[in-house]
Each structure stands twice: as C-alpha cells, then as structure tokens.
C-alpha cells in the first residue's frame, strides 16, 4: 500500500511538472502539448472507436507473430541443443540474426512480400524466434545432468524426455527467453507498422505515423503512452505471474514477498 502510494505521488508529480512546463508558454503547444490535451485526444479516440480498433489490429498481429515465432523458436532451440554440430551451425545463425535490430528486416520484408500482412508477420516472427531459440538452447544445455539420468532410469526417453524433462527443466531460461522475445516482437511490430502502410488494418504504429504527418503531437504522445501501457500490462498479467510461479516452485529469487 505504502509502495503504491509513493509510486503514485511520483507519477502525479511528473504529470504536474509537465503541465506547468507546457502552460508556462516557453514552448509551443505543437512541441509540448499539456497532458490535459493528450487525455482529451485519447478520450475522443476511445469514444469514436479508432483507438480500440487500432489496439485490436496491433494485438492480433502481435499475438499471431509472437506465437508463430515462439512455436518455431522453441523446437529449433531444442534441436540446437542436441549436438555440437547444430550448435556450430544453427546456433551461429541464430546468434547472428538475433543481433540484427528487427527494424532491419523491414526493407527485406517489403521487397519480398510487398505492403501486406505477411510482411508484418514476417518481421515480428524474425524479431521473436531467434532470441527464443537461443534461450531454449541455453536452458536445455544448463540442465543438471542428474535430472536427465534420474529420468532415464525411470524409463523416460524419446518424446517423453523432451516434453517431460528437458522442456520443464529449462523453464527458468525459457521464460526469460519468451519475455525477451515478447519485447523484441513488440518493438519489431511497431517498426513494421510505422514503415509498412497497408490498408488491411490500421494499427497503433500507423496512428503514430499519421500523428507525425499531421503534426498532431497530442496523438503522437498519446499513442506512445498506449504502447507503453500495453507493454506494461502484458508484463504484469502474463510474465510476472509466470515468473512468480517459477520462483515458488524452484525456490529461487532473492526477494522475499
């Protein structure tokens, strides 16, 4: 309770300082609109439905791309962990492509797929899968060998070994990998939406882009805030509980709650 109170005081002061700065008249409202104006924009965009529509379109793309990326990345990561050869080949490929900032996939996606949904999906998948793949591989390679041996004497091998021992045993790495993959997916989708102008769906990135074209700073900042909120909410409702569950099971984590 006290923690929440302190946090609220902090953020309310930030907004107040912003409001004071904006009303001081030193900066043009086009450069620095007051927070009230941003709230007004968000309110009207919410009322006319364009904001929800954009959120929906964006989240749908994100989910599709992210799930596809994870579903390809996890098995490939497991495959990568099976031998020195796959590590040297697949592993090197994944590491190389993971270091590529995901916005760099946009030109290639545009040339390959044109201004289409496929181009968007492609960029998100590329943003997600390499980091998920590397995290899965790291997880599988860090399993204490005693688990694998105990499982083997109890008759676990083949498919069962992968699904019931290696995958769950690498969960601590896997979940942090999925979280990183999520962050990358989010970034790459915004990059894609800003650059790929298509008519099949108007996402948050497009709203941001047109905000700039129209010199509508309230829209730009408003959408930025929405993007931040979505990132935070997903973190709070998906990854935080997962991590807490994991710490509880494994007995890890320094901070006692």
């Amino acid at each position: 309770m006290k923690r929440q109170l302190r946090a609220s005081v902090f953020f309310i002061s930030l907004v107040l300082i912003w409001q004071l700065a904006a009303t001081s008249g030193r900066w043009s409202p086009i450069i620095l609109p007051p927070p009230v104006q941003i709230a007004e924009y968000l309110w009207s965009a919410a009322l006319d439905g364009s904001l929800w529509e954009a959120c929906l379109v964006t989240l749908k793309r994100l989910m599709l791309g992210y799930l596809a990326g994870a579903m390809v990345g996890i098995p490939l990561g497991l495959l990568m962990s099976t031998s020195q050869f796959t590590e040297d080949t697949l592993g090197a490929l994944a590491l190389g492509l993971q270091t590529l900032p995901s916005v760099c996939w946009v030109p290639l996606a545009l040339l390959w797929f044109g201004q289409t949904e496929t181009a968007m999906l492609f960029v998100v998948i590329m943003g997600t899968m390499w980091s998920v793949m590397i995290a899965t591989d790291t997880g599988a390679r860090n399993i204490p060998p005693i688990y694998a041996r105990a499982a083997r004497t109890m008759g676990s091998d083949g498919w069962h070994k992968w699904t019931h021992v290696i995958l769950p045993a690498s969960l601590p790495y896997l979940i942090s990998g999925l979280k990183q993959g999520w962050a990358f997916a989010w970034r790459s989708l915004m990059a894609a939406e800003i650059y790929v102008t298509i008519l099949t769906g108007f996402g948050l990135g497009h709203l941001l882009h047109y905000g700039r074209e129209l010199n509508a700073m309230d829209q730009v900042i408003g959408i930025m805030l929405v993007i931040i909120w979505i990132g935070l909410i997903v973190d709070k409702i998906v990854f935080s509980p997962l991590e807490r569950l994991l710490h509880k099971r494994w007995g890890t984590g320094i901070i006692q709650r």
């Binding site: 004497t153 109890m154 008759g155 007995g251």
Partner: protein, 266 residues
C-alpha cells in the same frame, strides 16, 4: 517357488570384468578395475567401501547409465546397454525434479509404467509417500523439504514403480536415527514381500549387516572388490540386535585391513 539361496537360481545380474577410467586433463582415475560379481534373483547385496572407491560408478554401470571401458553387465542373460525400467537407481544426491510437486515426483516413474491404469497412479504414489512418512507434504514444492525429507521422497520415487532391481546409493545417509530404523524395517518388508533384487551402497557397516544377504567390500585406487561376507542371520533383523555385532566387527576389521594395505602400497 524358487528359493533365493538356491545354488541353481539363475543369476539375475552378472557383472563381468568391468573396468572404468575417468580421464581429465591433469589426471587419470582408475574408478573400477576388473570387477566381477554375480547377484542372484531376489538377493539383497550391500556395497561398502571408502569414499571414492567406485561404488556409485559401479551402480551407474549396472543401471546402464555409464558405459564401462571393458567388461559387461548381463541382466537375465541379456547384455545391458542402456537404462531399463526394471533397474531403477536412487542417486546419492536426491535428484528430485524442481518443476514437479512432491507427489508429481513420485508419480513420474508410475506414469511411465505401460500396464498400470491411470487411476492407480495417485493411489500408489500416496501409499509410498505414507511409507516414508511424508503424505502431508504431497503438494509441497521440493525445495521446501529438508535434506532428509528429500532423500525419503527420492526413496519413495524409486520404490513406487516396483522395479525388479533397485540400486540404492546411500539412501539413508541424511536421515535421523528414528526414521532410519523405521525405513530399515520397511525396506526389509518390501524386499521380502515383493522379492526384489537390491544393491545398496552404504558407509554404515551395521546397516549393511542388518539389511544384506551378502556384504561386498571395495577398496580404492584402483576401485576393486576385496572381500565378501555372507550374512547368515534370520529375518527380519533389528539394527540394535546383538547378533549383528559379530559380523560388524569382522567387516570393520577387514575394512581397516584394506586401508593399511593401501598405505603399505602407497
């Protein structure tokens, strides 16, 4: 019904001329050198020997988890070349899976038994948790247990799928005396009613005498078998019974003899 001591009883496990080396950059350890041993169906055998004499390595090889450099292990006349569900190991470290609850750990092996109906898994697992006195902790996470409790869960996990051969690596090392004595009784009872072959590693000579049909002594560098003692006492045996003392003394003396022998060598 075949008696366990019948001279014609098929040898359940044949360990023939096993040698195993571990090489590292700086040194070569001869963990086992030319070890041979026959274990009859239904026999209870205890391995005793100084730390580092290759007891765990021998269990691993019997289980099929480690390949020997030379020699082979035969189970029911078939060469062992991998782990099988009929030879279950309980490791020196408890090796419980942190992603499963206590109950989930005990059920892990049961779920892999092909002809066990699904409805039985939980019942059997709870039975064995009760046996080791931990039924109240079925839903706990493994890290919430003490060292001795983990050891008991690992024992329950090894016993539950009812393998024909049990390989137990110092299963009672981390337990208090009371629990330990209870488990001596329970293990003897399980062994007698289910006719299992058990190989148990221990540092406690009295424990070995209490449980075993035969106690096998090993000595280190290179790891080898030095002596065997038949324990010809009626069962069930009580760890505190005076009848054990005679054997205990002999074996302890032999163990010390091993040590002085090594010193003379070194």
């Amino acid at each position: 019904m075949q008696h366990q001591f019948d001279a014609h009883a098929a040898n359940k496990l044949q360990i023939q001329n096993i040698s195993k080396q571990f090489k590292s950059q700086s040194s070569v350890v001869q963990a086992l050198s030319n070890v041979s041993l026959s274990i009859a169906e239904g026999e209870f055998l205890c391995l005793v020997g100084a730390s580092g004499c290759g007891k765990s390595t021998l269990l691993d090889i019997i289980a099929g988890l480690t390949k020997p450099d030379e020699g082979a292990v035969y189970a029911d006349e078939k060469k062992v070349d991998g782990p099988g569900r009929q030879r279950l190991v309980m490791f020196q470290e408890s090796a419980l899976f942190p992603w499963l609850s206590v109950l989930g750990n005990v059920m892990f092996g049961l779920k892999l038994c092909p002809d066990l109906p699904k409805s039985q898994h939980k019942t059997i697992a709870m039975e064995f948790l009760k046996l080791v006195g931990l039924e109240k902790f079925a839903r706990s996470n493994t890290h919430e247990l003490s060292g001795g409790m983990k050891q008991r869960v690992a024992l329950a996990r090894a016993l539950a799928p009812s393998p024909r051969v049990l390989l137990l690596d110092e299963p009672f090392a981390a337990l208090d005396a009371m629990t330990r004595e209870q488990l001596y009784d329970d293990l003897q009872h399980i062994w007698e009613t289910h006719r299992k072959t058990i190989i148990l590693v221990t540092h406690n000579v009295r424990e070995a005498v209490c449980l075993a049909d035969r106690v096998v002594l090993m000595s280190p560098s290179p790891g080898r078998i030095t002596q065997e003692f038949e324990i010809d006492l009626p069962r069930p045996r009580d760890i505190n019974s005076i009848a054990l003392s005679h054997y205990t003394q002999n074996i302890t003396r032999a163990l010390k003899g091993n040590q002085t022998l090594d010193e003379a060598h070194g």
